[in-house]
């Protein structure tokens, strides 16, 4: 992605349905005007830096559970769990979730502690487009761990009128 490319933020509601597979009905191929959201690596890197600073974020110990194909980008279930004994001296301090291509990279940040018992959180997020989701956990020993998963987001076939 070059610096000259601008982020094209189309209102999702104005996007027409993509080409239909019902070729047998003799439908004309519909024009697709998808929002071409690009990854914004700089914004994502900054958001992660705000959380982890200069520390190395290692892959592992975190398990991010998202559906590989979401039914609707407006509400995508997500579960993050971390492999940790959760003792008073070895526990998960915080979990942070990022979405690579959303207009804003942060999704949620939670503060835990040894009283959490189980370092698992669940919530539902909005995704603007097919993209990677990154979950980063900070442990009590100061280390950072992550998991990355990809979610495919399609647009609804029969779109409602815009707001």
């Amino acid at each position: 992605m070059t610096d000259t490319k601008r982020l094209y933020r189309a209102n999702r509601r104005q996007v027409l349905a993509g080409a239909t597979v019902l070729a047998g009905l003799g439908l004309p191929a519909l024009q697709t005007a998808r929002a071409q959201l690009q990854a914004n690596p700089a914004a994502l890197a900054l958001a992660i830096r705000k959380v982890a600073g200069d520390a190395e974020v290692k892959t592992g110990r975190v398990k991010l559970d998202v559906p590989p194909l979401s039914e609707n980008g407006n509400s995508v279930a997500l579960t993050v769990t971390v492999d940790s004994a959760m003792t008073p001296t070895d526990y998960v301090k915080s979990i942070h979730v990022f979405a690579e291509k959303n207009p804003q990279s942060n999704v949620i940040s939670v503060q835990l502690g040894p009283r959490a018992g189980q370092p698992t959180i669940q919530t539902r997020m909005r995704l603007a487009d097919t993209q990677d989701i990154i979950a980063i956990a900070e442990l009590s020993d100061g280390t950072f761990w992550r998991d990355v998963r990809s979610v495919v987001v399609t647009l609804g076939a029969c779109l409602e009128d815009p707001v």
Binding site: V21, P67, L69, L159
Partner: protein, 264 residues
């Protein structure tokens, strides 16, 4: 694919359609092949519907429960004052709507019935279609039928309206020139622009639609469909929607109610 179904294909379905005139249209989905939209949901969305503490539709049900007990209108009456505990008095009611309303000479759906009660018994201002309050009452009453089979009344007076609904279902409309049946009878289970085409049964309304991020009525969904076909939707409350609902509820007869359902 031909729109007109041969009589040979229609014959077995016709045996089930006693009393219904055979309109050239789509073959009915055989009763045993009918599938609720629930069956097409992903694992997480199913979990959302199954858990009353994760289903955002339940927030509306709770609002409805509060409204049920709130005195309103010039008569200063709450629903509970006449109907008592909704768990008893409203059990199975939503499953048998739309029902014929003699004073109007035509069927009314549940939202309209609630509005009639408000106007006549509570002397209260009407709740606008698709308002938070009307959806809440509709969701609360609808939930009292959860699990009960869709039970359209065996009422001869509904027949002309059911036929009109069926005709609308089979009629091509909009710039895309498609009928409901072409997708929902002939191509259910296949993909349309990355989404699965459901059979389109009304057994979960009002429901929480992820696309809306709120609860909404069957009429809202029908309007979405019409917009999707690039047809101009009828206004809320139009008799066309109620006629279609009479047909759709008959088409879904016997399937369990799921209000408040969750759908993409």
């Amino acid at each position: 694919m031909s729109v007109v179904t041969s009589l040979r294909r229609l014959a077995p379905a016709a045996a089930l359609l006693t009393g219904l005139s055979i309109i050239a249209g789509h073959a009915e989905i055989p009763l045993h092949e009918r599938r609720s939209g629930y069956a097409d949901l992903g694992r997480d969305t199913k979990a959302m519907q199954d858990d009353d503490t994760a289903n955002p539709g339940m927030l509306s049900v709770l609002d409805g429960e509060a409204l049920w007990k709130t005195k309103t209108g010039d008569a200063g009456r709450a629903c509970v004052d006449c109907h008592g505990d909704a768990r008893t008095s409203m059990k199975g009611v939503a499953a048998r709507y739309p029902a014929f309303e003699p004073a109007r000479g035509r069927p009314v759906n549940l939202d309209q019935r609630i509005s009639i009660c408000r106007a006549e018994r509570q002397q209260a201002k009407p709740l606008p279609y698709e308002s938070k309050e009307l959806l809440a009452l509709s969701a609360f009453v609808g939930m009292q039928s959860r699990g009960a089979p869709v039970a359209p009344p065996d009422d001869e007076r509904l027949k002309p309206f059911r036929d009109a609904g069926r005709a609308a279902y089979d009629r091509r409309q909009g710039q895309l020139n498609l009928s409901c049946g072409q997708c929902h009878d002939d191509n259910w289970g296949k993909s349309l622009a990355g989404n699965l085409i459901p059979q389109a049964h009304p057994n979960g309304y009002p429901l929480y639609r992820l696309e809306w991020q709120s609860i909404g009525s069957l009429q809202r969904r029908l309007r979405n469909c019409m917009t999707g076909l690039r047809a101009e939707p009828y206004e809320y409350g139009a008799p066309e929607y109620v006629d279609l609902e009479v047909y759709l509820m008959w088409r879904a007869r016997g399937m369990p109610m799921e209000t408040p359902a969750v759908r993409p």
